[in-house]
Each structure stands twice: as C-alpha cells, then as structure tokens.
Amino acid sequence: MRRRARTPVVGRSVPRREGLEKVTGAARYIDDLSFPGMLHGLTVRSTVPAGEIQSIRFDFDPSGFTIVDHTDIPGRNVVAAIVDDQPCLAERTVRHVAEPIVLLAHESRERLAAAKVHIDYSPGTPVFDPAASKETLKAITIEKGDVGRGFDAADVIVEGEYRVGHQEHVYIEPNGVIAVPSGSGVTVYGSLQCPYFVHKALKTLLGLPGDKVRVVQTETGGGFGGKEEYPSIIAGHASLLALKSGRPVKLVYDRSEDMLATTKRHPGVIRHRSGVTRDGRLTALAIDVLLDGGAYTTLSPVVLSRALIHACGPYRCDNVRVTGRVVMTNTPPNGAFRGFGAPQTQFAMEVQMERIAETLGLDPVRVREVNALRAGDTTATGQRIGRDASALRVLGEAVRRTDFRRRRKALAGTNRGLGLALFLHGAGFTGSGEVRLASKASLELTGRGARIRVANTEIGQGARTTLAQIVADTLGMPIDAIEVSQPDTARVPDSGPTVASRTCMVVGGILEQCAREMKRQLAGMTPREYLRRHGPLVVTRQYEPPPGISFDEETYRGDAYATFAWACDVAEVGFDPVTYEVRPVKMTAVQEFGRPINPVLAAGQIEGGTAQGLGYALLEEVVMLDGRMANAQLTNYLVPTTRDTPPIDVVMVENRYRHGPFGAKGVGELPFDGAAPAIVNAIRHLGIDIRDLPATPERIMEAIDRGGRGIRRKA
C-alpha cells in the first residue's frame, strides 16, 4: 500500500507551536506560578562599588523571616563558571554595587519590602576606567603573517579609535525563579536559557549530587544572552532560601533590580591601524581591543575570544595582529548578549573600512569588494574559507536592492544618509567548544510519533517549532506527531546551552541523526506497531564535528567555527539639523544563514536583531555613576518604540550548508552585528564624524562642532 505523499514542513512557515497559549494569555511564565506554602524572596545588595563589610544589622521584627548569608551555603560559595572567582553571596569583600550579600524570605511581600537591613562598609578604592585597571581577566593575541612588512607595503596608513558602551538586554520578562525543596534536594523552575548551566552551578553551591538537583525551564519572556549565565545566581539564591526555610521560594526581580544587578554587554575601546594600497587593498591590520569585564570573570574570556576572532570582519588580509584584553572594573559583571563580542569589534572594523574609503576617496562598496573573503582565502586564524562564503553575494544583493551607488550620490549633501555594513558571524561554539560540550540529544518514540528531549529552550526564537520541523521531515511524519519535552534536567539530556546561534544548526543536527536512526529502526512500521512489538525506543546521539575541523586554543590558529553566516545591511537615515536627531528611515538586511527552516521565524530573528542593533546604535546608553547604573528604569534606559523603528526589508540568501540540518546555519545573532555600523556609516555619509556608540544627538552635535559637516580626507 502506498503512503500518501506528505508535504515537507522544513522551509515552510509552520505556525509557532505555543503560539495559541501566548496570544490567549494562557502561557505560564514564572511569575504566573505559585506553590502551596510559598515564600517570597528578596536580595539585599551592596550599595558601594568596593569595600569590606564591617557589620550587618537587621532592623525588623524577624518573626516569619528566613535569613540567609554566606555561612548558610552548604557547598562552595561560588557561582560555578569558567573561573570560580565570583561568590554567590559576598563574605567580606565587595567588588561592585548591587553585589548580593544577604537573602530574606517571608510569606508577606509587604513585610519583606519593609525589612530594613543596615550594612556598614569600610570603603575601598574602586576602579571604573578599564584603561586604568591592573587586573586582566584574560588576554589573547591572534597573529598571521607579518604586520611590520604589511605596513611597509602600504601606500596609506589609517588609524582610528572606536568606543562602544554597555547595552542592557531588556527582555520584557525580568529574571525570576521558584525553588522548591524536594527531599534532600531542590527543584528550580525559572526563566532561563540553559538549564544545565544552572544545574551545574547548584550542585557546587549546595554540595548536592546531580540527581538531587532538578532544573526546569518555564516559558521564558526573552533572553538574548541575559539569561544564559545569570540565572545560576538567582537560582542559587532562591535555592538557599528554600533549603533553609523548607518552603518553596519565589524570587522575581522587578525591572529596576534587574537592570541594576544583572549582566550587560561588554563595553569596549577598539583601536585600529590599517595599511592599505591606494586602490583599497588591506596590506596590514593591527587591532587592539580593550573590553570591560566588570567585577568578576564570568564569561569574559569567551566574549574576548569571539570579539577577537571577528575583529577583522569578513575581510582577507595576509598580515594581521589582533591583541585583546578583558579587564576587571568595580562594576556589575558583564556577560553574554547576542553577538557576544562580535558586534563590538565588527562595529569598529566597519567604521574603519568606511574611513579607509573616505581617506582614499574610494567608493565604500569597492573597498568592501576588494577585501571581502572569497572561497580559498584564509581568515586571521588561518581558517580556509570554503564554498559556504557569501560575502560578495550579500554585498552585491544589498547594493543592487537599495540601488546603493546611485542613491548615495543623489543623497550627498542632503539631510539623508545612506550607509552599509558587511559582516559575518561564526555559528556554534568556538574551536573545539562543541566537541568539549559533547552535547547529547534524545528522541523518544511515542504512540503518535516522537518526542524530542533536549535541554535547548524556547525563548522566543522559535526553537520548539524549528526542531520539531527538522524531526518531522526526517522521520517523514506530520509535525503534529512530534512533541517537544519541556526542558527539565530530570527528563532531558544535556544538549548544551541555548546560545551561540547553535540550537538549530548543532542540536537540530544531532536530532536529525536521532531521527534517521529512529526511521531506520522503525523500518516502515508505525510507531504504535513498533511499540507493541518491541517496546520503548529512545535514540540518543552525541555531537559529531564536521570532518576536517581543528583549532589550536594555545596559538589561536585553525578553524574557529564550523561555518560562518554572512550579511550586508544598508541603512538609510534622516537628519534633523535643528535637533541633531538621526532617525532611521529604512533598513535593508541581506542575510545568508544556509537556509531558513521556518521563514517567518527566521525573518523574526532578522527583524528583531536589526531593531535591537538600532537601539545599540542610537538610543541605548547605560549611565554609570560611581559604578552604579543611574538610569535603571525604562523611562531613562531607552529601547526603540514602534516610532523609533523603521521598516526592515529582509532578504534571505540561500547557500545550503552541507553539515547543517537541511542546510541550515545559525541565525540568532548574525542580524545584530551589522545594524549599528550601517547606521553610523549612514551618519558618516551625512558628513558627521561619529566613531562611538550610541550616536546620540548630543554626540552628533559635538562632532559637528568639532569637525563640521564634511569629513576631511587625510593623506
């Protein structure tokens, strides 16, 4: 009997699986949940950026309160990460404002809010300027060829310094968890990206074996990296309160506390010195990167790593020296945020390329064309670019679609500017990171079809849907036959974190392998027949790297990523000379990420990432006063509203990646990287010399006062 042909779902815009729950208000986020006997938690934090705690005095009636300090920690007082330098609760030394010191829990939120805790400090000497910091958290150098010789071969040398500030995630749902004591262990429910990161941190903090700690991700209202490593801290706090009180404890931050205390994008200063020939070819690139890590190491070494690997952008150059440091300052630790170092250095590279074009009197498209990586070229780490390179293709398409050259000429001298940025993003963990993660995914046969068991989380990007699409088509089953398990460490294997644009490409790839094997074992039987005949079936597979990939982490040479995604953004802006305001009028985003598994969801990543990049470019500024975020309210930390966001023309260029499921690469972060430099290059087209983010009206006014409207070419 012939089976009816089914329509494949990969490549189609299957509606988001949990869409109905989200549009009806039925989706349950952490603050929507309650447990019997639940207490509410509160974190008492440092008000000084550096110092030693001298005394702690509780000025409230303690009845009904649970109070936790570092002495209550059963395991080790660390937030387990790369380097265990961050305490979960400060013992004596405080290294940043908002550092957690004491935890309180009570049934009544009013009693909790009224509880006064007085802490006396002997103040230390804080360091706020990264350039003045004497504590380097990590330093990396990437070298290729001989920059000295490269500069000698140059006709012109162009230097520049570029600065980028903090950026706050502003996921619309703030951080929150509920910890529930169970037996001698604990279960933590929460808004998070990486259940197993939290699991690992709790084992260390609580001194518990893996089977006594359970972490369950609840519906999560946005992450963007801000719920990658930070939840280990809030989960640790809630768990300590839960274990001490013997009651479930809900710990949810309000917006101000979230902005004040949690991680942000690393600020940076990037210095460029480029040697170029008169026709625009790069002969030498010397780049120095200084990132501000904040008070503890957290993920800074990895952010620095990705920042430096992307520092040369999508360009080829035989002689490269990239040096970088991430340093400690007495500010709240910085952490993961979409792009993870690449936006900072690619901003600098793209504005530097623009300045090279300006200096040589060359067309900015030409300068990109001459230097763009092509198949056969090598990157700064010596990675040979293969047929999955699309730099010229996306550039050409963006230029064609926006009629870039003609429009730029037409707009010259007006109050409209047009600029572009060419960029790339390596998908998956750097180097042998994916191999070390050793991610595992499982597929379980059910009566109706199959159940996906992975630790990767739906955080809005559509993972729950795209992974189901990949499995459905591989198995040849309808998508409704595929369930996706809630990420629960008691029920799913460690398939790695939901970060680094890896979920679809890497974990989707492992699931594809699982599904192939399951299909083979089914051998034409229906799931029901198989289960009746053979009993349960769970297929588990582990990540296998594509053949021929190798990276040396000592020398920073080799294949940094399995593959890159490529993009070109064009920004058109309008300028108001009365108010110095720049208003984005239109964005065009031409992006190659293999192919979209689900076009609506992929477009969502591109539109959302581009809009977030616009905020980074023009509006979002963290004002730090004495190490404390002074504008920790949405009134004063500005993300783009509807009226700040222009139409975004999305073009998806296909270039199927051989080792990605159905040809897909990662797309979560790529769109963010290019929006800000495209905007700033459009501002430069107006004749305004901007090199720092955000390009606020105040900075634009200062740039015009300094240099007028007309960028002078230097010999």
Binding site: L619, T635, T641, D644
Partner: protein, 279 residues
C-alpha cells in the same frame, strides 16, 4: 512589584465639596487623579503620604467648555479627551500637539491636565503651552475660589503656590491671538521625556515658553521683547541664553539644551513668519 498598600487609606469623595472637606485637615490626603506617576513615586520614595484622595469619579471636574469666550478645561480632563475635543482642537491646537506627545496612548488615556500642572515637573509637556496661552488656574478650597495666573503658579523646583487644602479644578484660557507653535524634543520618538520643550505664539506680542531648561517652566520676556521690537533672530537667541538655565542630567547636557533651544526659536520664527525674519 506589588506595592505595599495595606497601611494606605483610600478616601473616595462623592462630590467636589466632599473632596474639599477632606482636604481641610491637619494631615491632608494626597489627591489622586490619573495616577500615572503615583506608584513610581511611591516606589522611589518621593511621595511620602499614606492617605489618598481619589478624585477620579468627580466628573464635574472633567468638563471642557467655552464660556464667555474663555475655554475652560476641567482639571481631570485626560490628554486623550483633549486630543479628541473639537473645541480644544480649534482654540488651542498647540495643547493637542503637546497631548499627543505625552507618553503614549495608555498614558494619555489616564494622565490629566491638572495632574501635569500640579506635578510641577519642569519637563511637563503641556506647561509651556499654558504659559504662552496665559492661562489662569482655578483653585478651590472650603474657603472659596481663587484664580492664579499660570505664570505666577510655580515658585521653584516642583513648588507651587497651592495650599494643602486647595484643589486645582479648572484651567481657563482666553482666546489666543496669533499662530500657535509647539515642539518637543524628546529622548526618543515616543514615550519620551522632554530634553527641551517649547511652545510659542506668533503675534504682535510674541510669546515663548520653554520646559526642561530651568527648575520650572519659563517664559522668556527679554527674548519676547527682542522679537516684538523687530530685533534679529540672532539677538533674540542671545537674549534667550540669558533667560534659560539648563543643566546636565541623565537625559541630556546643558550645552545641547542651549543649542537646541536657540535652534527651536529660529525654527519657530521661520515657520510662523512670512519668509526671513528681519535682520
């Protein structure tokens, strides 16, 4: 976060008279209108009261009407009401323009004109409009009614001449001769706080008022005099700099505010005039 309210007292007057009686107390309650900044103020500790007087249902304070050629706007009229009111659109379009720029729709549907006035923020978007329209504020207490010129209402940063037993009940605006002009330069394109906000009237007697450039909303009489006497726009801009006192703050800088104020003055003059201003 859920605000601790169990210790708060909520008073609900049935009439204006009732409200005035409740205000006539040693510990007068805090009048509550649209409440668009109530919970924020409570949270950040800038509002210390625990007794609240809920005015929301006093519909008599929301009326918008013209009486003897005076436009009278009840203190509880929301910005949404102002935007939709044909009589305000006709007589005071600059107030409609200001109302459209306050927050966004959700804020406009609750925020009241009276609240904006009594809140006394130097950045209040409607305040420069009332300053150049030379509005009169109608204050009531158990003791009676008094009328205060808008331009005499503020005495310092967030300070007014209102007594604790008084309620602002209406704003009276005489006919405005000349062309009305309004511009807000906000921190972003919507849901924004003003970095500089300016209202102006082009008439034989030109009037200009600005917000966010001093501890209160300010009229700029020297600047107005230069414009009235036919001085150049550069002279007017120079006079303007002596009458505003902007500061650096979280949102912007004094230098930016000075420059943009001057630019807005020139823009106003250009957009409302017949070609170039006289040099």
């Amino acid at each position: 976060m859920r605000t601790p309210v169990s210790a708060f007292e909520h008073l609900e007057p049935r009439s204006l008279r009732d409200a005035l009686r409740l205000l006539n107390d040693e510990r007068p309650p805090v009048p509550m209108a649209g409440c668009t900044d109530l919970y924020v103020s409570l949270k950040f500790g800038t509002l210390g009261g625990t007794r609240f007087l809920n005015l929301w249902n006093l519909d008599e304070l929301r009326r918008i009407r013209v009486e003897r050629d005076i436009l009278s706007i009840g203190a509880l009229a929301t910005f949404g009401q102002l935007i939709k009111s044909p009589v305000v659109q006709k007589r005071l379009p600059s107030l409609v323009a200001a109302a459209r720029e306050i927050g966004a729709v959700q804020i406009q549907n609750r925020g009241t004109l009276g609240g904006n006035i009594v809140n006394a923020s130097p950045a209040g978007d409607a305040l420069p409009v009332l300053a150049v329209a030379e509005a009169t504020l109608v204050l009531r207490s158990l003791g009676g009614t008094r009328r205060v010129p808008f331009t005499a209402f503020y005495t310092g940063y967030r300070q007014t001449v209102m007594r604790p037993d008084e309620l602002l009940v209406a704003v009276e605006i005489p006919p405005v001769e000349g062309t009305q002009w309004f511009r807000k330069v906000g921190t972003r394109a919507a849901q924004a706080i003003a970095k500089v906000v300016m209202a102006a009237v082009r008439a034989p007697r030109p009037r200009v008022a600005l917000g966010s450039v001093a501890p209160t909303v300010v009229r700029v009489p020297r600047t107005e005099a230069v414009l009235a006497s036919g001085g150049s726009i550069e002279e007017a801009q120079a006079a303007l700099q002596t009458e505003i006192h902007p500061i650096d703050d979280l949102r912007s800088t004094a230098a930016y505010r000075r420059r943009v104020s001057a630019n807005l003055l020139a823009l106003f003059w250009r957009q409302t005039g017949q070609g170039e201003p006289r040099a």
